[in-house]
């Protein structure tokens, strides 16, 4: 919906489509200047951080998974990392590898969903993948095949595709046999080829010339592209801190206009997490095949154009299949599916790279294992200021476009981030101040 009054021009989308969760967009232009931009969130609050208080330290993997049906494994991983660190648990490499495989399954499922079903329709001019399927059935069939493989991996390792039941502190309830995992290899090899085709396909899309003005922040993992764990946070402007110091460098503020807890870096400003940050800060840690395809399509080793995040996601997809192949190839079933994690009083921090970016958890527990406090910062809360800043700069340079086209392109600006509004545990009810 758009309307003009005098020198004021307002662009509004009341209910954003092809994003996870409920959000709206509001852009106000006065006399040729963008005055106000809001990615408004009307997903009601669910109070996870409040009701986690008083629960047992063993429960966050199951409970916080319910924050997001699209990336439950991210929540399980970040919460396990945080609580295991309080309790001083040492996780064996074999279990860590299995966690990485499980997380690759989630990346595959989520990235294929976003690339083909949520994002590509924007570039190809369709309202949905369902409409896309009518014209290019083989493309959508390929996408569904690729996505299903991600879900199948999550089902075998995690028990089920949404809210996996097999993840616990210290590891798993049951670990798969070597044979169960080997059964995936042939499909993974084919899917990796299809992912290479995906990179080639999406790199032919037309991308607006646009670079975001924010600091890129990602998790750093020793010698590996960051996925299920990491103890340091790095940025393209020199940040290099322990995740324990997250609270000293990042803060959440409660702003009325957008009704969400906005995250920002203290004394530094807005930042972006997600595929662009991960890739730009860790491209050297990708596998040879992923590096090769990135070079083939001319991606470079840094990318700051959020529209091109679809290419980065596709490269990460190649990598996720490749990693799954590598992990399965060297997999030995652990002797025990989990290590014991005994409660210990203290505060623990845990991070992982959800498909849409850094997910931070912090828990304080007492000696009995009761949770005293919980803090969860999902990627979309961190990206919201960046999305709004993108919208502002993007609209300012495109005021010549008519309202319909401009609104449509603004929606794309938002979808570039694959925002997961349901993830926003502490997003608020909306009261937009409209002038």
């Amino acid at each position: 919906m758009t309307h003009r009054m005098g020198g004021t021009r307002t662009l509004e989308v009341g209910a954003l489509a092809r994003v996870e969760g409920e959000g709206a967009m509001h852009v106000k232009i006065e006399d040729g200047v963008v005055r106000d931009v809001q990615l408004a969130i009307y997903e009601p609050p669910r109070f996870f951080e409040a009701f986690l208080v008083g629960r047992s330290y063993t429960e966050p993997p199951d409970i916080t998974a319910r924050i997001c049906g699209i990336c439950p494994i991210a929540y399980q991983a970040s919460s396990c990392n945080a609580i295991e660190s309080v309790c001083g648990a040492e996780i064996p490499d074999s279990i860590r590898a299995l966690r990485r495989l499980l997380y690759c399954g989630e990346w595959i499922e989520s990235h294929v969903l976003h690339i083909y079903m949520l994002h590509a329709p924007d570039f190809l001019g369709f309202p949905s993948a369902i409409h896309l399927a009518a014209k290019f059935p083989e493309v959508v069939e390929r996408a569904l095949r690729m996505k299903k493989l991600g879900n199948d991996i999550v089902e075998v390792v995690g028990g089920r595709a949404i809210h996996p039941i097999n993840v616990r502190l210290g590891g798993f309830y049951r670990t798969p046999s070597k044979a169960e995992l080997n059964a995936f290899t042939e499909r993974l090899l084919r899917a990796r080829d299809e992912a290479l085709e995906t990179v080639r396909l999406v790199s032919t899309f037309e991308f607006p010339d646009f670079d975001g003005d924010w600091e890129l922040v990602s998790l750093a993992s020793d010698g590996e592209y960051p996925i299920p764990e990491g103890r340091r946070l790095i940025s393209d402007r020199g940040l290099d801190i322990s995740i324990e110091d997250y609270g000293k460098h990042f803060a959440e503020t409660h702003v009325a206009h957008a009704n969400a807890l906005h995250s920002h870096m203290l004394e530094r400003g807005q930042y972006a997490v997600g595929p662009l940050a991960r890739y730009s800060l860790n491209a050297d840690k990708l596998s040879p095949i992923a590096k090769q395809i990135a070079a083939e399509v001319g991606l470079g080793t840094e990318c700051r154009n959020p529209f091109r995040s679809i290419i980065v996601r596709a490269v990460e997809l190649v990598y996720a299949y490749d990693e799954a192949i590598r992990i399965i190839d060297s997999y030995e079933q652990p002797e025990r599916p989990f290590v014991d994690v005994q409660p210990r009083a203290g505060v623990g921090h845990g991070c992982s790279e959800a498909p849409r970016g850094l997910l931070y958890h912090k828990y304080e527990i007492d000696g009995r294992g009761d949770i005293l406090s919980a803090q969860i910062v999902p990627p979309t809360a961190q990206n919201q200021p960046a999305i709004e800043s993108d919208l502002e700069a993007f609209v300012q340079d495109r005021l010549h476009l008519d309202d319909h086209e401009l609104t449509h392109q603004c929606e794309q600006v938002i979808r570039n981030y694959d925002p997961c509004i349901s993830c926003a545990t502490h997003f608020l009810d909306l009261h937009v101040e409209r002038s």
């Binding site: 489509a17 699209i70 993948a129 399927a133 569904l144 009810d429």
Partner: protein, 264 residues
């Protein structure tokens, strides 16, 4: 079938994680067949194309947590032929119904610097507490095979086959060793409705009640059996108060333990 004569399907979201509607997109093998048989008229997560109601079948995800939700669900009901509530949030208020046992004002100030910005109801409740629901599909999340069964049955005008017996029965069918009696692992299988295929016990884990209470079960007897495994009362209250905490049977069981009502 032409677009004009295809049944119109709508998918609605209230307070939730999006997982249950994602189950529809997770039916990779059947998705194109399903969307070929219906007109997907309103499904914001998947499509920006919106067709006006009325809708023949509405799938409703999520719980009611705001005044606006109450108005919106009435409108959805008005626009819908058959209304199916899907998942633990829509059928029992979901995990966010834990606020129902607490003071929501305290919750608000725990999470937010400016509680005055927040507008929320004191409770999170299922759809049937507000409008007539034609069919409920349990689970946190729902099982996608059950979802396909419901959609297929409704399209062909027959009654969907959704079993209501306990997880225990499913375990016996699968030949699982009982984790409760053999391993002493706390398990809600005897009182939880099936739908998952006894997933947790098949992974050496006790059932934790995703599908909510089954009909005609003896929760008191399970409570005693759980105590016998060494569970303390506060842990007992916790197991009943998760994703289906506000379902009448689990709510009563939790309250009874909290009040010290079950002894043995």
């Amino acid at each position: 079938m032409s677009e004009a004569t295809k049944p119109k399907l709508a998918v609605w979201k209230f307070s939730s994680c999006d997982g249950c509607q994602l189950s529809l997109l997770d039916c990779e093998d059947e998705l194109l067949q399903v969307v070929g048989a219906v007109e997907v008229s309103y499904f914001l997560e998947a499509s920006s194309a919106i067709a006006e109601g009325p809708y023949d079948v509405s799938l409703v995800e999520g719980s009611i947590t705001t005044e606006h939700d109450i108005e919106r669900i009435k409108e959805v009901r008005r626009l819908s032929g058959i209304l199916v509530s899907i998942g633990a949030c829509a059928t029992a208020g979901g995990i966010q119904a834990l606020r129902n046992f607490a003071d929501v004002r305290e919750y608000t100030s725990t999470v937010y610097a400016h509680p005055e910005f927040i507008s929320t109801l004191k409770t999170s409740t299922g759809i049937a507490d507000h409008v007539k629901v034609d069919l409920e599909l349990r689970g946190c999340p729902i099982d996608r095979h059950q979802l396909l069964e419901v959609v297929t049955a409704l399209l062909s005008g027959r009654k969907p086959r959704v079993p209501t017996h306990a997880v225990c029965v499913e375990c016996k069918k699968r030949g699982n060793v009982c984790v409760l009696t053999e391993h002493g692992t706390p398990c809600l299988g005897p009182v939880t409705q099936t739908g998952c295929g006894a997933l947790c016990p098949s992974f050496n884990r006790g059932c934790y009640g995703c599908f909510g209470p089954a009909e005609n079960t003896n929760i008191d007897s399970l409570t005693s059996a759980l105590r016998a495994t060494g569970m303390q009362d506060r842990d007992l209250v916790r197991v009943f108060r998760t994703f289906n905490a506000w379902s009448p049977a689990f709510r009563a069981a939790g309250e009874k333990v909290a009040a010290g009502g079950v002894t043995q």
